[in-house]
Amino acid sequence: MFEYLIGGLATAFSPTVLPVLLFGVVGGVVLGALPGLTATMGVAILLPFTFGMEPTAALVMLIGVYIGGIYGGSIAAILLKTPGTPASAASVLDGYSMTLKGQAARALSISAVASFIGGLTSTIVLIAIAPMLAKFALRFNAPEYFALALFGLTIIASVASKNILKGLLAGTIGLLVSTVGLDPVTSVPRFTFGIMDLYSGINVIPVLIGLFAISEALTQLEHLFLKAKANSEFNYKLLSLKDLKTMLPTAFKSALMGTSIGSVPGAGADISAFVCYNEAKRVAKNPDEFGQGSVQGLAAAEAGNNGVTGGSLVPLLTLGVPGDAVAAVLLGALIIQGLTPGPLLFSQNPEIVYGIFSSMLVGNIIMLLVGLLGIRFFCKITEVPKILMIPIIIFLSIVGAYAINNSMFDVGIAIGFGVLGFLLSKMDVPSSPILLAIILGPMAEQNLRKSLLMFEGSWSFLYERPIALAFILLAVFSVYSTMRRHKKARQAESENP
């Protein structure tokens, strides 16, 4: 194994492969940072260009885009409250709060380091125990997905730290939106009003663009007309040693969680980021800091989403099935190169497997360097006058919403949710629960109904399947601890008004 790994590293650093990897990572960061252009799209668009390339170089480039794309989405999330991809939506919560306090550089450096820890850890896990992890992934099926989604949904209670009722309101709006489309079991149209664009449900990316980017642009626009709020003093201070110490345990834990979630087919970086954030908040000593610029919160989301990168390759390389949408495109790339993804790849083409492993190791290092060296450059964005920045964001949002599916309908969705998000923010209703419910709602519904079909109407899967039971207990603890915290906060308030 080690000789292959060293051979792989030699390949990764060879003059024909390293530039391709560098191009992939940097290109991925740029794509990821633009709203509407996701890592999946980047990989899919580049795929035809790899047809003529040598197999290792082709896969290395695509993997570079993947790693860079998941990370890049967070830059815009932190600086502009405009997550480039759904995977970065959880990073807005604490990252943008830091930017508002003038600590954009600190947030970006935490994000880069946490992403690096997430990516690197998951790559090492992938190299070391991929076959074992694959066995774990195969034990996941409908009941486990349902329980995971349920645990994820409890974050609604914890995101809405100030007013739980408003958080639940937002979550319910999201769940209602997520019921639009064809029924997952019977294929009967629900709430589609005969509009064909609604048959596949409301696409999450235009919603993301609307709720975050457009609504934030509208808020900024309003500030331009009102008396401009003085920006906090801006500084270029990176993360401190203390920050690093605070975040390391959370980052490693989230990295491992992200790897596990990634290894399960059908759950990707967006779900992982929220689940890791929720878990970090559940165990945190001072959960009230979450959402106000918590180092741990940002690190959990960032390590959690990049942790998926290695994990999603586990089922691809061991079972021949993709772990998420990006892995599905990589599967296509492998097949087009005449390779058979799955366990045979290890014995037939070990140079390809270890080429992938090594390029992931090197790719994560490149990502860290790009992230840290780019901070000064990225931060310049916050110095652009608002009067220029707002139209640019709205322009990019509309192009992004269109590009995801070449659809004007999606542009309408983005604008609609932009206005909704803006109005809700006036009423202090948080918008992230809406997004979370749209991502997790269908997962919970489909898998609950699938489980009931599998178990012929019996609910025994809730307590007979250990993994499902574990997630359900976590969900119960999560709700319980949030309720207790609120009770305490209310008591404290009534004692010292």
Binding site: A44, L47, S187, D197, T340, G342, L344, S407, M454
Partner: protein, 308 residues
Amino acid sequence: MKKLLKTVIAAAGILATASAFAADYPAKNIKLIVPFGAGGGTDAVGRTIANSAKDILGKNITVMNRTGGSGAVGMSFGAQSRPDGYTLTVVTREIASLPQMGLMQHDADDFELIRLVNLDPAVVLVSADSPYKNINDLIADAKANPGKVKFASTAAPNFYLMTLEKDQGIKLNAIPYNGASEAIPAVLGGHTAVTMVTPGEAISQLRSGQLKALGVMSKERTALIPDVPTLVEQGVNVTSGTWRGIGAPKGTPAEIIEILGKAFDEAMASQEFKDFMAKGAMTIHNMNAEEFTAFVKEDTAALGALVK
């Protein structure tokens, strides 16, 4: 002045339309609508045939993914495009099923079908350690335990399964998964007993021996997995599969259909396209416009009998 401008614009418009019908087709780039997402099988077939045909036609063919509603959104969009030969659509089997289920407003009659490109049979798959040795073991178990045998379905409703169920008078417990990439792990992990996908979707698990094929649902054995017997050979007279072709909106001039048909014939015969399809474990099946139209009509009737 305004009037003159209007006249000029109108004249230009007429000229532009006229030129579209003229013998110099194609005069500009062609758009190919793919009704499924980038990276999937339909997308790959669309992009590769576009790539092979562009040199033959001498104009670029750009692929546009228009997803949603299991292909309904993209195909309806394609059917409503201007019939000038500059917007083509990858037409999939859903054009025969969705309209009959009330899930699509357009059907195959809204297209001039140009060529069938790809036809793949479904394969019945179980995990390597499954007690089923052949299709009759599965059918016997389903007869003994109606509605109990768990089937990982790649779509709801699943026509591969329904054809078998109807013919044999059996009923499986069909659990809907999102495509082959979720249905295959459900069988590998032992959560469901059986699934049906195309050979290309399961080629790596078949090669590594993680999955076992009980039979292929075509009239004759397929070259991709020559060792797997057909269901017909095993005494079960059932065939099913999936297909993809190219269509233009109804009303596209016959000369243009002719030009495109010849170009796609040449593209399908090219080594590049053959290599690509072989690597993806997909079967090239070329049918000309008349054959393809009759084939779709027949398939629509067959699916209609299942839906009703």
